[in-house]
C-alpha cells in the first residue's frame, strides 16, 4: 500500500507491475487525465500543488481504510504535482484482489476520497490567460451556493 506524490510523468504499466500478486485474479486501475475544458471554458494547462507531508499521511490513511473495507490484496495511488497539459495523467489508482468486485469498489473509494480529502490543489489556465484555483471561488458563478 502506498500513496505517492511525484513531479514526473506517470507510467501506468510500471505502476501496475508494482502491484503484481499471484493471488490476484483482478486488477483494476483508474487514470485521471487532464481535460481540455472546464464548465464551458477551454483549458490549456493545469498546475497541481500539494502539501506533501499531510497529503502523504492522508493518502496512506485512505489506502488503509480501503484495505479494511474491501477484500483487496494491494492498492496504490500516485498523484502528479507541477505543470500539466490536456491529455497528461494527473492521478493513477490501482487495486488488486482475488475477485473483481472488491477491486472495482476499492478503486472507486480511493479516487473519491483522494479528491475529497487529500490536500492537493488545482489551478486551471484558460485560453486567453485567465486562471482559477478550483473550488476556491468566493464570488461569481463558482462560489458555493451560487449555482443552481
Amino acid at each position: 500500500m502506498s500513496f505517492t506524490l511525484t513531479d514526473t510523468p506517470l507510467d501506468p504499466a510500471a505502476l501496475m507491475r508494482g502491484l503484481a500478486d499471484v493471488r490476484a485474479g483482478a486488477c483494476v486501475s483508474f487514470e485521471g487525465r487532464v481535460r481540455n475544458h472546464s464548465e464551458g471554458s477551454r483549458v490549456d494547462a493545469l498546475d497541481y500543488e500539494a502539501y506533501g507531508p499531510l497529503a502523504r499521511t492522508e493518502g496512506e490513511r485512505i489506502l488503509a481504510e480501503a484495505r479494511e473495507r474491501f477484500a483487496i490484496l494491494g492498492a496504490a495511488c500516485v498523484h502528479r504535482t507541477g505543470h500539466l497539459v490536456p491529455g497528461d495523467l494527473a492521478v493513477w489508482v490501482g487495486v488488486c484482489s482475488a475477485h473483481r468486485g472488491p477491486a472495482f469498489e476499492a478503486c472507486r473509494y480511493i479516487i473519491d476520497e483522494t479528491k475529497a480529502r487529500v490536500p492537493i490543489w488545482k489551478k486551471e489556465h484558460y485560453a486567453g490567460g485567465a486562471t482559477e484555483w478550483i473550488n476556491c471561488a468566493t464570488r461569481g458563478p463558482h462560489a458555493p451556493g451560487a449555482g443552481p
Binding site: 479528491k115 492537493i120 484555483w133 476556491c136
Partner: protein, 80 residues
C-alpha cells in the same frame, strides 16, 4: 505572545505573496490567528471554507496555539 510558522499553499500563497513566514501573535487559537491574518492580508476565503493543519496533522480551529507550532490553512482541495 508566541511565534508560529505558517506555510501557505495555492490561493492563500498567492494572496499572501510568500510560501511561509514566522508570525509573532497574541492569538490563542488557529481560528483567532486566521481571523487576524485574513483582515491583514485580505484573504478572500472565509474560515468555514478552510481546514487547519497543526504540525503536519489536521487540527482544530480552537486548539491552543503553542510557541513553535507550524500551521497550514488548507483551502478547499481539488485533487484528481
Amino acid at each position: 505572545m508566541k511565534t508560529v510558522r505558517i506555510q501557505y499553499f495555492a490561493l492563500l500563497r498567492e494572496q499572501r505573496g510568500v510560501s511561509e513566514e514566522s508570525v509573532t501573535t497574541g492569538a490563542g487559537s488557529p481560528g483567532e490567528l486566521y481571523r487576524d491574518l485574513r483582515k491583514l492580508h485580505r484573504f478572500t476565503l472565509p474560515q468555514d471554507r478552510l481546514r487547519v493543519a497543526i504540525n503536519e496533522a489536521f487540527g482544530s480551529w480552537d486548539a491552543e496555539l503553542r510557541d513553535g507550532d507550524t500551521l497550514v490553512f488548507i483551502p478547499p482541495v481539488a485533487g484528481g
